[in-house]
Symmetry: C2
Subunit: 257 residues, 2 copies
């Protein structure tokens, strides 16, 4: 493969460039393309599609070596993609945007809160195929080795076959071993005991986010269903959240307004 023909792959995450997940993802991507990593300088867990508005953003060049250039941005995961697309990539459009590998699954309603998925949604808004990768294991020391052959094949397949415009992939790997990969939907559910409510020594309330996610156990289309059964899940997500099926109902409501 000649230098010019290598695909351009932009990578970010929500934990920063030195975390094991993004290092593993970058290692795989470098075997396939020219990689630009633009990652947050600080942990950005639960940042969703948040952007920095009130303060200016700063980017720092970190290093350049064969098939790899790294920048750090003092902002959110979506800020990283925006600055990369607008400035750091110097006008080149990436062939693929990747995010992760996040330690901790991003399925069901967690998809909404995930900065890892936020990267992919942002990329989809720029008409670039994107894949967010997460693993159902919160321990950052857990090995990702068993996931990497799947990561490599997914990257190659998406580069070859593309994704529909505006659609990204949210991929979750099970803990420990992978039985296969399923195309899934986002499990809509809820958390039980979502907060641990405590009172501090001065009598003031505080709350720790916690809880277990519950979704329809009989719906065998969802990410939650298959991840629990040891399968990797790949859920297509659209940047456009308009619910067109509700337009007539809304028009009906607004007639009276």
């Amino acid at each position: 493969m000649t230098e010019e023909k290598r695909p351009l792959i932009l990578i970010s995450n929500d934990d920063g460039a030195e975390w094991p997940g993004i290092r593993a993802l970058t290692r795989v991507a470098r075997t396939i393309g020219d990689v630009v990593v633009v990652a947050p300088t600080q942990h950005q867990s639960g940042k969703s599609s948040a952007i920095t508005i009130i303060t200016p953003l700063r980017s720092t060049f970190v290093e350049k070596k064969e098939h790899l250039t790294k920048y750090a941005v003092a902002g959110t995961p979506v800020d990283c993609i925006k600055i990369a697309m607008n400035s750091l990539l110097e006008g080149r459009k990436p062939d693929l945007i990747l995010s992760g590998i996040n330690h901790g699954s991003n399925l069901g309603l967690s998809t909404l809160y995930s900065g890892t998925v936020g990267v992919a949604i942002e990329g989809a808004s720029h008409h670039v195929p994107c894949v967010a990768f997460s693993i159902d294991d919160h321990n950052p020391k857990s090995s990702l080795l068993y996931c990497l052959p799947f990561v490599e094949r997914i990257i190659k397949q998406v580069l070859e076959k593309g994704l529909p415009d505006g659609v990204c992939l949210n991929v979750n790997f099970p803990k420990g071993a992978i039985k296969g990969v399923k195309a899934t939907t986002t499990a809509l559910g809820h958390w039980t005991n979502e907060y641990d409510h405590r009172v501090d020594p001065a009598g003031r309330d505080y709350y720790w986010l916690q809880g277990e996610y519950v979704s329809d156990p009989n719906d065998d289309t969802t990410d939650h269903y298959w991840l629990q059964r040891g399968y990797a899940t790949a859920t297509p997500c659209h940047v456009d959240i308009t619910e067109r099926a509700a337009l007539n109902h809304v028009a009906d409501i607004m007639k009276e307004v």
Copy 2:
């Protein structure tokens, strides 16, 4: 109307409880129902559906008067809804969740970044009808009076007719006057000159978010199209971002993985 029959209305925003927009919204809602305001203690612009994970959350009781109870939460807009639903409402399910009124429109791709809309999406995940209100005017001193009759009628209509499960409304008011209300879609577009790239006295890059939003000028279904023409827009948004139309394509890709 007897005390027991008044609907329970939960209100939040992304600016904090003392901003003109939420005060105006609360004033209208109090004429219709029992209102609980749970708003962030600090500005949360561009926070999307971000949640607080690594630190505990604190809530503070602010005041209680006729048909109005107020709390402040040191977190994101979505944190406010989560804590309200899990604790502050003491098990009562709201009949309606409202957000705003935000000074600054939230249309097109801005919908993704908006904490104002994040509130409504979160509420939809709890199966409660929700409406996010924004005005196409960044000046917090601009009068909202001309919007309030529309706010009142939209609240009453949504209470009466409901919204489909999982769907919320993203409402934007034009600046100055309102010609009518349109049921619209989210304009997919892009920003021109999205960042102003500067160099500080020490030679370090920094970036200010800016830019003008551009979308298809001929698409007369979108929020961007109608807001520009002086109409209020009401866009139904779904909490489920799964793109079911892409499931076969994803399954096809994953066969090779």
